[in-house]
Symmetry: C2
Subunit: 523 residues, 2 copies
């Protein structure tokens, strides 16, 4: 390379050199200081037997990254460095050539080889998860931010009443592994390539059977879309709803904060609140919002727990026939203790008005990120497109493993096991609540993985949740899940917590509430 040659001519013009000492004594050339090899901490004894050029180029890069070789510095002439390191000149020239190719250095003929770009520093200072201060009382002050659930999850606690988790210690690890071995044993290689964005057919078939058996929903596998949880279902719906002229999705109030955040994020869908009562959503109030879509939790309202009554179902059908679209979030209907099963709204309403969504998050584990949608017919192709462009479809292996568990009856057996455990934990919680929060009203205990308690409006629930967290007990204030004003309360998940900790945690809630009241009474 001529650039290196230019250096060569420069070297010949200087007095011949033979040893390290002479190199150190060389005066600086021009404005750019020539860096001696000892400054670079390059040691002839460290040169490897093979890959000398690789090694040298790497050391030089590291020196650039560390700041020892700044932009503008000049590399030693090849002959000098080669002599220093007791390698052939070709080795040094090759290393310099690579650094030139990479764009780190440029040959400038008589001015030698100069550093023009350095790699970024090796380690950036760790940023906190979101740049926000550590949580605690701050978590529950003001409007919950988009990362509030992350922050809560990151806060250590002794008792965790975060709603929405089944008993995770019961996750059927052995069954999952057996199913995965079986899947891998049978899997043809092509299924490891890019797959169908609608989801693996075996899983869509298995989900079709599952929905018929457990939710009364009769649906063809062709009409099922496998998604990464109900969260992603809401994300995929954004552009489809907008294209349908829908700019607002009415939500239940109280109603899931997480779902509302999902609907509002990025796409700025409005989320007008509609009050619920003991029969479910107030359909007259829904009509009054003028919204053309509604996100509902009909089988077990979140967070208050009621089942949508037959009368309200009929009203919803009339609303839908007048042009409304129902988004059914069927998040935990399989978990019930004291009441008969409730078919999905999709199974019960005539015509094609319900976009049905479900997942394994409350059946098996949220960490699996597998869910399904049964869209209304007119949205199906657009949702498949949206899924394709989102992530090219769910990962294949977990889908096939889940299909095996659904087909073999393992999931039904798991549910029966969970039901007994969950019922005992529910009982422990209701007993503890009766003992420690005697004035509080318990809502939604007949089914699900959580219940809600409301109490007299004296201590704001955010304050109560903060006090609880400072004493090691995590829970959601009911006000997180409200847009309209209402009684304070706490949303308490029990399914994932052993009964002894449930009792301990509820005792903490009781004393925190007592303390909060005393503080108010006596200033």
């Amino acid at each position: 390379m001529s650039r290196v040659d230019g250096e060569e001519r420069g070297i010949r013009e200087r007095p011949a050199l033979g040893d390290e000492q002479t190199i150190r004594e060389r005066p600086a050339l021009g404005d750019e200081q020539t860096i001696g090899s000892d400054f670079l901490q390059l040691d002839a004894a460290a040169v490897p037997a093979d890959g000398k050029s690789d090694w040298l180029a790497g050391r030089l890069r590291r020196a650039m990254a560390d700041g020892r070789l700044a932009v503008g510095s000049r590399l030693p002439p090849t002959r000098l460095l080669a002599a220093d390191l007791r390698v052939s000149r070709g080795v040094v020239a090759e290393a310099y050539r690579r650094l030139t190719e990479d764009g780190h250095v440029e040959g400038r003929r008589r001015a030698g080889t100069v550093v023009v770009a350095v790699p970024p520093p090796t380690a950036s200072p760790p940023l906190p998860a979101s740049g926000r201060p550590a949580p605690g009382a701050a978590l529950f002050a003001g409007e919950p931010g988009t990362d509030v659930f992350d922050l809560l999850r990151a806060t250590p606690s002794r008792v965790d009443f975060t709603p929405g988790r089944p008993d995770l210690t019961a996750f059927p690890r052995a069954a999952w592994l057996r199913a995965e071995r079986s899947v891998l044993a049978d899997l043809s290689a092509e299924h490891l390539g890019y797959g169908d964005p609608r989801g693996a057919l075996p899983l869509r078939r298995a989900v079709s059977g599952w929905l018929a058996r457990t939710r009364g929903v009769q649906v063809d596998p062709e009409d099922i879309l496998i998604v990464a949880g109900i969260a992603q279902a809401l994300t995929l719906l954004h552009p489809v709803l907008r294209a349908d002229g829908i700019d607002a999705v009415a939500v239940e109030d109280p109603g899931s904060l997480g779902a509302r955040q999902h609907l509002r994020h990025a796409s700025s869908l409005a989320t007008p609140p509609v009050p619920v009562d003991d029969e479910g959503i107030r359909v007259d109030a829904l009509r009054a919002t003028g919204a053309r879509a509604a996100l509902l939790t009909p089988a077990h309202q979140f967070p208050m727990g009621m089942v949508t009554s037959g009368e309200r179902r009929r009203e919803l059908l009339r609303w839908a026939r007048d042009g409304g679209l129902i988004l059914e979030d069927d998040y935990d209907a399989e978990h019930r203790y004291d009441r008969p099963p409730v078919p999905a709204l999709r199974a019960l309403l005539a015509d094609d008005h319900v976009c049905y969504m479900g997942s394994v998050s409350k059946l098996l584990a949220p960490a699996l990120r597998i869910g399904w949608m049964v869209p209304v017919r007119r949205h199906r192709d657009a949702l498949i497109d949206a899924k394709r462009f989102n992530d090219l479809g769910n990962a294949a292996l977990p889908q096939l493993v889940l299909a095996r568990l659904l087909e073999s009856g393992a999931l039904e057996r798991h549910l029966r096991l969970l039901r007994d455990r969950h019922r005992r934990r529910r009982d422990a919680m209701t007993e503890a609540l009766a003992a420690h929060l005697p004035g509080a009203v318990v809502h939604g205990a007949a089914a699900g993985l959580h219940l809600t308690v409301t109490y007299a409006a004296d201590v704001p629930d955010g304050e109560l949740a903060a006090a609880a967290l400072s004493r090691g007990v995590k829970c959601h204030p009911l006000s997180w899940h409200r847009q309209l004003p209402g009684r304070p309360g706490l949303v308490l998940g029990y399914a994932a917590t052993p009964t002894a900790l449930i009792r301990e945690g509820v005792a903490v809630l009781g004393s925190a509430l007592l303390r909060g009241r005393r503080t108010r009474r006596w200033g």
Copy 2:
């Protein structure tokens, strides 16, 4: 329930009845016809010992879904049906009560119990994957649609030269399963709950090490975001780029059709084409587009295969310092046969100008849907938000399994195994091309999982690809990956195809090209 009681009074007013024959003879009441139990195919012998009400309600629902009990039909009076089925009247009343609760029927006092809403039909007619006609020549005619890759994948073939897949038969199934067993053995239950949307920390650490070892990228685990493939990375970037005032992302030309579709979808980012030459992207032309972001494949340009030269890297750095953002799609840099490793642009360019993206799709399998982003600092929090709202984070188990494979060296061993196989397949393809397409120019064969051939501009490449597909050989026409005009060509993946099939497939391409030329020459 008073509605059922109203029926009772109606029944007493009619003559007493005792047997099925009398029921059939009963005249219709009013406009709604009363359906006899034999019409419903209800058989007293079929009544189960337990769960009678369940059974009856289910049969009635099925009758509604099948159309045998239409809206407006009247259910038999409870006393009659009970007598018919030889059950207690309470059983029938309970079944009717459930159907009323569900919203299917309403009591109308003297008019009896009437069907008001039926469930949707049990099976919808299967829709084709996208409503389009079966593929074939149609696939390659006109502009490729958003589902073109799905359609191509769904088309059966004998030889599949679809680019972008490693040897999938080499997927390390036993190692994957061992790692998963090990993960499940150690996993604490809380990691089965909702996780960190940035990705599991063990994987971010393992990816940090991997990137340093293989791509020269020094990055802290805190700066890595685990995503569902590079496809999802592009999706997550949409809103972040727009919020940054970026409405156009320049793309290489030729350049990946899939990536371009992802950028354009939903968010309508413009994708101005920038020509490439044998040194990589033409940075002068990039400047001329005025775009403030560019999607590049610097280590192995897709589809033409060249490496971005040192000079172009320096030009890119100047462009970036003038305000440009580089999106680096580092899709298959680990696969190289005849040239030394090329560090990532992220490792080479100073300052924080490169959003780096990679995945395991070409290392292990596209079906895993695991990838990573190293954003520029100013976009990091917004991308974490975007990932959270997309799907609450990647599934946890596969992340932890991959982390084990990265830490144990298993992935490096796998890569070395793949390299030998891929090299043999690359050689088989280049030899076959020399034999069967002697005039064609081969591009990009020194590395990667595919190469591109271009040939004299006589037969359009879409026509050639269609002819090949009709003879059982799948490949991409180069024109799919062009916005600007250029020589026709084919993009041929070889890594996933056994050498014998490679030779067979290339022979088909050769004869198809010959035929295409003859047809033109002689009309």
